[in-house]
């Protein structure tokens, strides 16, 4: 099968306009005859549900949480990019496009990224109109800051709660459609499978988390916006309920999974402090604008930070990357932190941390300025660690944060399973092998507000869709499979808890499929994951029943999928014999330990096809052509 991304013709800047013109339109009176199932209420899902509701479609929206507002997007801190060029510092759609392609280490589609940059401005307009309280300048106009390694200020923000404010905007819009009767909300529902009828996605199987009932919902198209799979690593900055289940089920039903090994490890997180640790907390990387990263020059130096004189500190990012300094992209920063710790220069009780020091900034700007900029982040840090970052330098360590991989989609955001659209972090998206800061929010909202309303219409208008009902045998069969899985999970009744097994899986992935990978480690990890999966089905213990709220059972189902999915991540990492972005294979590096891409052999998207049962999945390639951004080695020196 050849992967057709359906990139429209014509010059890059006109592709999207042209495509929108070419897409067929659904007659306004007919829109309400189409039932659309949207799974997820993060930025992507909520914005899609609201926009489709506004257009007049009949939308059913599902989420795991008790309220759509709790989706993981709520936690994004730093900001959202747009090419408004308000600060007059030389930004443009082209530059945002260029930076994103380059930042992604040339593993994203030019046409998609260009469209994203084009739409970015409309997102800001729309969010402001919704009442999102972005930061303002004294004159009342919108403020921007520089973020995530960008050399200009194009990031819009609402304190350290940008994701929350954007999500509440989208949630408000969604609630408005619920009140208007255009959207029906199904909270506390977990999608366990996608129903495929005659080759097309026509429904979902959901479990009502309150009473355990298995429900079937039919529709003309399914929109998955279920977020990323960072929780495969157990410890990550993702919310606890973030999972791969729906996406992985879709993969098993025929949607290809693209680049599963591309995970982003964020450099500035609060270090792990014990085995009971349940998740990691991100400290916004805006902190790197003013904080300086350092370690002691001598390995094993256990003196407290203020006793280490200036001459014995190594500001390694500033030293190695004089022009970007502390603001190098995430993958570069994380890898360097790991390298320092591997050399024994890590600090703190575990030796798995480096300092992020604000002393100079406080001396330069005064405490008041720093407090205004980062007050809530400092407070959060102090709450968690019990240490005051105004006095002692913060300690940070990298943590799994974002997954660039996801279900493969074409330019219309449709997967290889016809009628299944995938938005937000759940698709393999526009970030290539590495996502730049403040661009996930942009992408999620672009997908939901401004892309899916057009491309879904094009699909519905251009595809013959015979009526199906939930009584179709495909529904009963899919529901039965879901039910059987639940019975199996409950029946094992072994000796290990779900978290225990998940933690072990996480360690395997973190050690061998994390910041730095090598072929031997990956091979070992693959074998270990297979064993662990068997161990899981032999010895997991899920208390309670399937007939009421059972959080252990929910977790078990998600972890069971991670156990299978982890192997796909490893396979993909093994197959990609190069280093790029978040995927760093030790065999492919330059003399000064930078990632070395292999554009001859790997300038493509890898998309995996489920081959059924235990058979090896099939790897497909979608070649990437770079006509506008010349393929160069990224350099932040």
């Amino acid at each position: 099968m050849r992967l057709d991304a359906k990139i429209p013709g014509g010059p890059l800047p006109q592709k999207w306009d042209r495509h929108r013109f070419e897409l067929k339109l659904v007659n306004p009176a007919n829109k309400r005859k189409f039932d659309i199932l949207v799974v997820g209420t993060g930025l992507a899902g909520a914005s899609a549900s609201a926009s489709l509701g506004e257009l007049g479609y009949n939308v059913k929206t599902f989420c795991i949480h008790d309220s759509p507002r709790r989706a993981h997007s709520i936690a994004a801190q730093g900001g959202i990019n747009a090419a408004k060029n308000y600060p007059n510092d030389g930004d443009s759609i082209w530059r945002l496009f260029y930076d994103t392609v380059k930042g992604g280490d040339f593993r994203a589609r030019e046409a998609n990224v260009y469209r994203l940059a084009q739409i970015s401005n409309a997102i800001i307009d729309h969010c402001v109109a919704q009442g999102v309280p972005f930061a303002r300048e004294y004159g009342g106009l919108l403020a921007n800051r520089s973020f995530g390694g960008a050399q200009l200020s194009r990031t819009f923000y609402a304190r350290g709660q940008t994701g929350q404010q954007l999500l509440l905007g989208a949630y408000g819009a969604l609630m408005r459609q619920v009140a208007a009767g255009r959207v029906r909300l199904f909270p506390r529902r977990e999608i366990l499978d996608i129903v495929v009828v005659r080759g097309k996605a026509r429904g979902v199987v959901a479990r009502n988390l309150l009473n355990g009932e298995i429900e079937c919902h039919e529709g003309h198209a399914v929109v998955l916006a279920t977020g990323g799979y960072g929780n495969a690593y157990y410890l990550s900055t993702n919310a606890k309920a973030s999972n791969v289940t729906a996406a992985f089920r879709a993969y098993k039903r025929g949607a290809f999974f693209a680049n599963p090994c591309f995970t982003q490890i964020h450099p500035t997180c609060i270090p792990v402090h014990g085995t009971y640790q349940s998740k990691l907390t991100l400290m916004s990387e805006s902190l790197r604008n003013d904080g300086r990263v350092w370690v002691p020059k001598t390995p094993g130096d256990k003196r407290p930070p203020h006793q280490i004189p200036e001459a014995e500190r190594d500001y390694f990012l500033e030293r190695k990357y004089p022009s970007f300094g502390n603001l190098v992209p995430r993958d570069v920063a994380s890898r360097n932190v790991k390298e320092q710790c591997d050399q024994g220069k890590g600090v703190g009780p575990t030796g798995l941390a480096v300092y992020l020091d604000f002393a100079d900034a406080i001396r330069r700007d005064g405490r008041a300025v720093i407090e205004r900029k980062y007050g809530n982040l400092f407070q959060m840090y102090e709450k968690i660690t019990g240490e005051d970052p105004y006095e002692t330098p913060m300690m940070i360590y990298p943590a799994v944060h974002y997954t660039m991989g996801g279900l493969w989609v074409d330019y219309n955001l449709m997967s290889t399973l016809e009628g299944l659209f995938v938005l937000g972090e759940a698709n393999f998206s526009d970030h290539g092998a590495n996502r730049l800061g403040a661009s996930a929010l942009m992408q999620g909202l672009a997908d939901g507000y401004f892309i899916i309303p057009y491309t879904l219409g094009g699909y519905l208008a251009g595809t013959p869709l015979e009526p199906v009902s939930a009584s179709d045998p495909a529904f009963a069969a899919t529901a039965r499979e879901a039910e059987e899985r639940i019975h199996r999970l409950l029946a094992v009744n072994g000796r290990r808890t779900v978290d225990d097994l998940h933690r072990e899986l996480g360690m395997v992935l973190w050690n061998h499929c994390g910041m730095s990978r090598n072929n031997e480690g990956l091979r070992k990890a693959r074998a270990r994951v297979q064993e662990l999966r068997e161990e899981f089905w032999r010895s997991v213990r899920v208390p309670g029943s399937g007939r009421d709220l059972n959080q252990s059972l929910e977790k078990a189902g998600r972890v069971a999928d991670f156990m299978e999915f982890a192997e796909l991540m490893i396979l993909d990492a093994l197959a990609r014999q190069e280093s790029c972005g978040g995927h760093f294979n030790e065999a492919y590096q330059t003399e000064d330990n930078e990632a070395r891409r292999d554009d001859e052999r790997f300038c493509h998207v890898a998309a995996w096809e489920f081959a059924g049962g235990d058979r090896e999945p099939v790897r497909h390639e979608e070649p990437l052509a770079f006509e506008h951004v010349p393929l160069t080695q990224r350099s932040y020196k």
């Binding site: 008790d66 936690a75 308000y86 609402a158 609630m175 909270p187 968690i384 019990g386």
Partner: protein, 254 residues
């Protein structure tokens, strides 16, 4: 520095909405003071699971104080005794070795208990549905800088918009009133020019919804603002009152 402590927990157990429920006592041993409150509960739950008993159900997700999922009443205080902190951000270093901790669900007629510490807070969604938004369709927005907003106004709007919808204000209010939550949304949108066109309709409709959901009335007890993890102030309640007076007596809205 990190220490190990021992606690006695008295936790509300309730199988389902119809079950009358009761308190159960557990010993939590070897708890590190670096743990969060929820991590402490995780440890208890792991043990219960291995003993073949059902773990304590509680809502949680982000575990960093922003999603609003978590929350239980700890020794009489929703989210525990620390100011401006959600339960997931409350660390065990704020407890002492040997403490007894009573953990109950949020209590309000509008928040029926689902199981153990999990309550149904969908009433808060219904409040937002009744008008907690700006009616703007995708595509119709003007250029973002068309309407300047004085930064102090934007800041005050942000103060209100910071609400995470956890419902602790309701749980803490002696009257189980949702005034702080409702006023935070009314105030956020009333402060911004984008929210003004439907300000009158919004406040009247949200007050009606608040009453229909079965929340109590506000007697200005101020427990809510003292409990709110985002430290949302009752100035917003006053603004709701002002907006409602204006809307009720001076606008054409009914």
């Amino acid at each position: 520095m990190s220490q190990r402590i021992r606690l006695t927990l008295k936790i509300w157990r309730q199988k389902g909405p119809a079950d009358p429920g009761h308190f159960e006592t557990f010993a939590a041993e070897d708890i590190s003071t670096d743990m969060s409150f929820l991590e402490m509960l995780d440890v208890v739950n792991e043990k219960l699971t291995l003993e073949g008993r059902e773990p304590v159900a509680f809502d949680h997700d982000c575990r960093e104080g922003i999603c609003g999922s978590c929350g239980a009443v700890v020794n009489g205080r929703p989210h525990g005794h620390l100011r401006g902190t959600t339960l997931c951000q409350l660390h065990m270093r704020h407890f002492r070795d040997g403490d007894t901790i009573v953990i109950e669900p949020f209590r309000a007629r509008a928040f029926p208990v689902i199981k153990d510490l999990v309550v149904d807070r969908s009433a808060l969604d219904r409040l937002i549905q009744s008008g907690g938004f700006v009616s703007v369709n995708t595509g119709s927005a003007p250029e973002a800088n068309t309407l300047p907003v004085p930064p102090d106004r934007a800041e005050r709007a942000m103060d209100a918009a910071a609400c995470i919808g956890c419902g602790a204000c309701v749980a803490a209010c002696p009257n189980a009133s949702a005034m702080l939550f409702t006023s935070a949304k009314v105030s956020h949108l009333a402060l911004l020019p984008q929210g003004r066109p439907e300000a009158a309709r919004r406040v009247l409709s949200m007050v009606r919804a608040m009453d229909a959901c079965g929340f109590g009335n506000c007697s200005n007890h101020r427990e809510c603002e003292m409990t709110c993890p985002k430290e949302i102030s009752i100035v917003h309640i006053a603004r709701l009152n002002r907006e409602a007076l204006k809307a009720g007596f001076l606008s054409p809205e009914r």
